[in-house]
Amino acid sequence: MRYIRLYIFLVLGFILCTSYTSFSQNYSSRIAIVGNSFDNKTFTKKEIHSIFKGNKNYWDNGNSVSIVLVLNDEDEKSKYVAEQIYNKSVLSVKKYWLGLVFQGRFEAPVFVSNNEEVLEVLKKNTGAIGILVDYKEELDSKSLLNILD
């Protein structure tokens, strides 16, 4: 019994120590979150992280969630998104999505090459949500989502 307690203590201790860094997630004004057909256009950062991790299947209006991402291995912007939204490397985010789809828990995101393609996919898909990095053009107020801290 003593050994079982020690074993549980070690396993849980390990998890608590190593997971400490996972709580620190913030992102800057370089990122804009855009979407198509939302009733509520204001989200917290925590909600955004959760949505982009595939934790939500449907929006409150009944539309299914569809995620649009730019995720290229050597692209600095992709690395920035992976770090800010997922707190992971690009490789880890790709593995994360492959695993999630294989488990049958979420539909695969639509992977595109740049900001313009994100907007193009968004226009065609109701319930789609995407991320723009360093986008300089003016955005349609209907598609830009407000993010609170």
Partner: protein, 351 residues
């Protein structure tokens, strides 16, 4: 048969070229080299592992389809085709679903997350418990909830066939019930518990044994047996550290020898270096009672030292040294010789 299979694969592949976001086809597979040293003997082989076709898609906003079909080498020139998963999912309310078909029984983290693609496995082999008593697949109906509330709570409740068959559910003959819960307080961690129960008419038939190394037993018990199982899983896969612990306890009961208590535990630790390299260790133990008539007396430990290199998300190589030995050195008739194994596995995904 071969032509039918070929035509199915060709047609699915052809569809794959025109796949939209609502319909996707992926391939997974592995190749393996293994050397086994037992007493003074050395056996080596290089083999083709499971090759699989994974198809998923949506019919509309609420209904989706998923299948996983594997092709396994069985003997010279012969391959065995298996449907490992085939399910229709109805997402009836937010993150709650009703599922019908054949699926992996969600009794532990490994069986609910890794399935058959070795690309995702942290170690080359499944834990020892899979070769002895884990009911890998269930054919039936399932209620599922996932990512509920702030702590990402999830549940599964399913009723389906017992251990005798994985593809046919004799509704009034032999059933199993699985109840499982899990939660993810943060993304990288998942805790899970499950309960599984079934009553077998013939304890000698267990389809899931096909997933592991079979040990031949003479005079196998083929009478009725009640089987109940509890499992607990802890999984942590962070950017640096990786940990997986799978605990399983089962209680079997027969009129002949009464109640037997059996347990197994698998523990894995890995540490990621420069993003793509993971040296790891694992310790696996399985112990059964002397009066158990389902698994039969088997008391083994396994030590693993290994290394994984990920070339990309689609291909990785694992190498590991394994040492098997008995838990007790009592040299009774259940004892098995110590074994050293060296395995290299190349696993991949195509999409």
């Amino acid at each position: 048969m071969k032509y039918i299979l070929l035509s199915i694969i060709c047609s699915i592949s052809a569809l794959g070229f025109s796949q939209s976001n609502n319909f996707q086809v992926r391939g997974f597979g592995h190749l393996e080299y293994e050397s086994v040293i037992e007493e003074d003997s050395l056996f080596s082989n290089f083999k083709l592992g499971e090759q699989e076709l994974f198809v998923n898609g949506k019919f509309n906003n609420y209904f989706s389809y998923l299948s996983e079909i594997t092709l396994n080498y069985s003997s010279h020139g012969n391959y065995k085709l298996n449907i490992e998963r085939l399910r229709i999912k109805y997402n009836y309310y937010k993150n709650h679903s009703f599922i019908i078909g054949k699926f992996h029984t969600p009794v532990n983290y490994w069986n609910d997350v890794y399935f058959h693609a070795r690309l995702f496995f942290p170690t080359i082999d499944r834990p020892l418990m899979f070769s002895k008593w884990i009911p890998v697949h269930t054919f039936g109906v399932r209620l599922q909830g996932q990512n509920l509330g702030k702590r990402n709570f999830g549940y599964d409740l399913l009723i389906g066939n017992g251990m005798a068959s994985e593809d046919l559910y004799n509704v009034f003959e032999e059933s199993s019930i699985t109840a499982a819960v899990h939660w993810k307080p943060i993304d990288e961690i998942r805790f899970g518990f499950s309960y599984y129960t079934t009553s077998m008419k013939n304890a000698s038939s267990m389809a899931a044994h096909s997933h592991g190394h079979n040990d031949a037993h003479s005079g196998v018990y083929s009478g009725p047996l009640d089987f109940q199982m509890l499992n607990a899983s802890v999984a942590y896969f962070g950017e640096k550290w990786e940990l997986l612990n799978e605990f399983s306890y089962n209680r079997t009961e027969t009129d002949t020898l009464g109640v037997a208590n059996n347990f197994s535990n698998y523990l894995y630790f890995g540490y990621r270096i420069k993003e793509k390299n993971v040296p790891f260790i694992a310790y696996d133990i399985l112990s059964t009672a002397d009066n158990d008539l389902h698994t039969f007396p088997y008391n083994r430990m396994k030590f693993v030292l290994g290394y994984k290199h990920e070339y990309s998300t689609k291909i990785n190589v694992k190498g590991q040294i394994e040492y098997y030995r008995n838990i007790h050195d009592n040299h009774d008739h259940h004892s098995i010789d110590s074994i050293w194994e060296f395995i290299i596995q190349l696993s991949y995904a195509i999409y």
